[in-house]
């Protein structure tokens, strides 16, 4: 399914971004990070609010410039391209945003939205109407002819979320970067959107960077999981292994915090919640139940676990508190 050895579609290397607040305080939104995505691969980027997921996604989309590091799309360094060339290349990478209502201009019909995206394709599209109808059909907005002349506010929230995906598809991308596409969606819509994305990967070989704070969805949906905390990638590896057997205390906390319908989860997660003063070392120190003295002063380096996994923690996985 995934061509592991193929050259990555998207390569972020040593990218970092620091914001300076109005009061002069610095926020390290993204600390030096590496993220590679292979053709047809689904990567989930998980972490709580403020961990830097959207900033990393915007850097990937070249909507936000990193302070340092490089962004390559299909081997080309985006940060070195002219504005025009960047606009052309960037089409291979399409965003899907969290809030489908805010993502559309209310005065543009679905037809206009899709035609505009189709116009981004390289080369001339002979019959944009046919293509637009085909895409609507593709995302399950059927019968497509009933939808094409409506406006985004005239369809339901779940349908708008599909329209967001339809718009991304219309540009014929190689990779979709979806920032919390399920937030606010209830169970019926959630399954439909995830199935649609799986189909697109299978049929069109699309890569997907999927951003979520819900690690339980990452586990079942993604091939690989990347866990971020306050700008730092604390752990990454194959979804099935990372979540069955986390190697970082923060991954354990995220996993325990998912409310399950069986068992008393609040009590389980309580054992993993603490607060202590910040240190100058690991950003997770102030909330880590497994921390040792060293964590307060030093930034942990990256350790490998087998061939495919990496984590950043001084405490070995078997010595971390499991909760």
């Amino acid at each position: 399914m995934i061509a592991v050895d193929a050259a990555p579609v998207l390569e972020l290397d040593e990218v970092e971004r620091t914001f300076v607040g109005r009061d002069g305080s610095e926020v390290k939104a993204v600390r030096p990070s590496r993220l590679h995505i292979a053709p047809g691969e689904i990567v989930a980027l998980v972490g709580e609010s403020g961990s830097g997921k959207s900033t990393l996604a915007k850097i990937a989309l070249a909507l936000e410039l990193p302070d340092k590091g490089s962004v390559r799309l299909e081997g080309r360094d985006l940060l070195r391209l002219s504005k025009r060339e960047l606009r052309r290349r960037r089409i291979a990478m399409q965003p899907v945003f969290q809030d489908p209502t805010a993502a559309f201009n209310p005065r543009r019909s679905i037809r206009q939205v899709l035609y505009e995206a189709i116009a981004c394709r390289s080369g001339h599209t002979a019959d944009p109407e046919r293509l637009a109808l085909e895409i609507l059909h593709r995302v399950g907005l059927t019968p497509a002819a009933n939808f094409i002349d409506r406006y985004p506010h005239e369809i339901s929230g779940g349908q708008r979320q599909r329209l967001g995906i339809a718009r991304a598809l219309a540009a014929k991308p190689k990779i979709i970067i979806a920032d919390e596409p399920l937030s606010g969606a209830d169970v019926s819509i959630r399954g439909q959107i995830l199935n649609l994305l799986l189909d697109l990967r299978r049929e069109e070989g699309l890569s997907i960077l999927f951003i979520t704070h819900d690690i339980s969805i990452a586990e079942v949906f993604a091939d690989r999981v990347v866990v971020m905390y306050r700008g730092m990638i604390v752990e990454e590896g194959p979804a099935s292994e990372v979540l069955k057997n986390p190697a970082h205390p923060y991954t354990r906390l995220l996993w325990a915090a998912v409310p399950h319908i069986d068992g008393d989860d609040i009590e389980a997660v309580r054992r993993l919640i603490i607060a202590r003063p910040e240190g100058s070392g690991c950003p997770f120190y102030s909330r880590c139940v497994s921390a040792i003295e060293r964590c307060a002063q030093e930034m942990p380096g990256s350790h490998s676990l087998g061939q495919t996994r990496q984590y950043r923690c001084f405490v070995q996985p078997q010595n971390q508190i499991a909760g």
Binding site: S49, V187, S188, L254, A257, P259, I261, D265, I266, I273
Partner: protein, 322 residues
Amino acid sequence: MSAADSMLRIRDLSVVYEIDGRELFAVKNAFIDLKMGEGVGIVGESGSGKSTFARAMMALLPATNARVASGVMEIDGVSYDMVDKSGMARLRGRTFAMVFQDPLSYLNPLMTIRSQIVEAIRLNDPSANVDHRVRELLDLVRLPQRCLTAYPHELSGGMRQRVLIAIALGCRPKVLIADEPTTALDVTTQAEILALIKDIKREIGMSLVLISHDLGVVSSLCERVFVMYGGYTIETGAREKILSTPAHPYTQALIHTARAVRGEDGRFVTLSGDVPRLVEAGKGCPFAPRCGVAMPQCDTVLPSLAHVNDNGRHSARCHMHS
């Protein structure tokens, strides 16, 4: 459940919205029972009428196009007609207080946190020892003193939700109604807030009505569950019964899809079809169009509420059980 057990009973609640000159039901013959100190959950998909139910309890329905068509509420043995909005409004604060999904839109951006908490305390008890109560409430929701001088936008989402809970508790309500209190939060903050509500409930013996589309959230705090669909209460029972032996096909589907799971074909299990739109009081079961086991009568006859088992404490509105 007998009337004696419950401190709060709502029966036959129906609420209509006027849309394009037509009155459409968002809540229909819905009900709830709540014992002292108990937590009950209202679950259902988007549009099932959960928030409308809560707003009817709080007399906070939009005045422009909403109307309580029927409903009786008994609280501590006293009966109220829910159609009487001003009578219901008097219960707000002392009896019911509410927290919402989006705290920012219920906090005043121009007032400090302290002033907003003080306002809630005074509303209920003009002669209260304000400093003492503020400190008490802050401890209860585990917020540091320094938050008092802050404005809402200076706080994180989780802290704002704590403030909203403090304000709600400022009136010493008998029942806290929490409408999707953690939906806008990430999972770790959600876990903290749920743990907090659980502790407060125990510490002050408060009763809780928790509304959520997430069965996981509801089952972590509630002893009993009311499932809503298309405005109707379609099933109710003890949490364990609902989770282990759900009687209504909709509840079964809800449990089956509560966590994202993939079937043998690798695809995510979904509940097919769209959530019901508002309709003029229909005849049949609102779930019939999406139901895998629907029978001919389901399209035409509304099933009545029938006991399933558990000594009459577990009931469902489904022809398979009537």
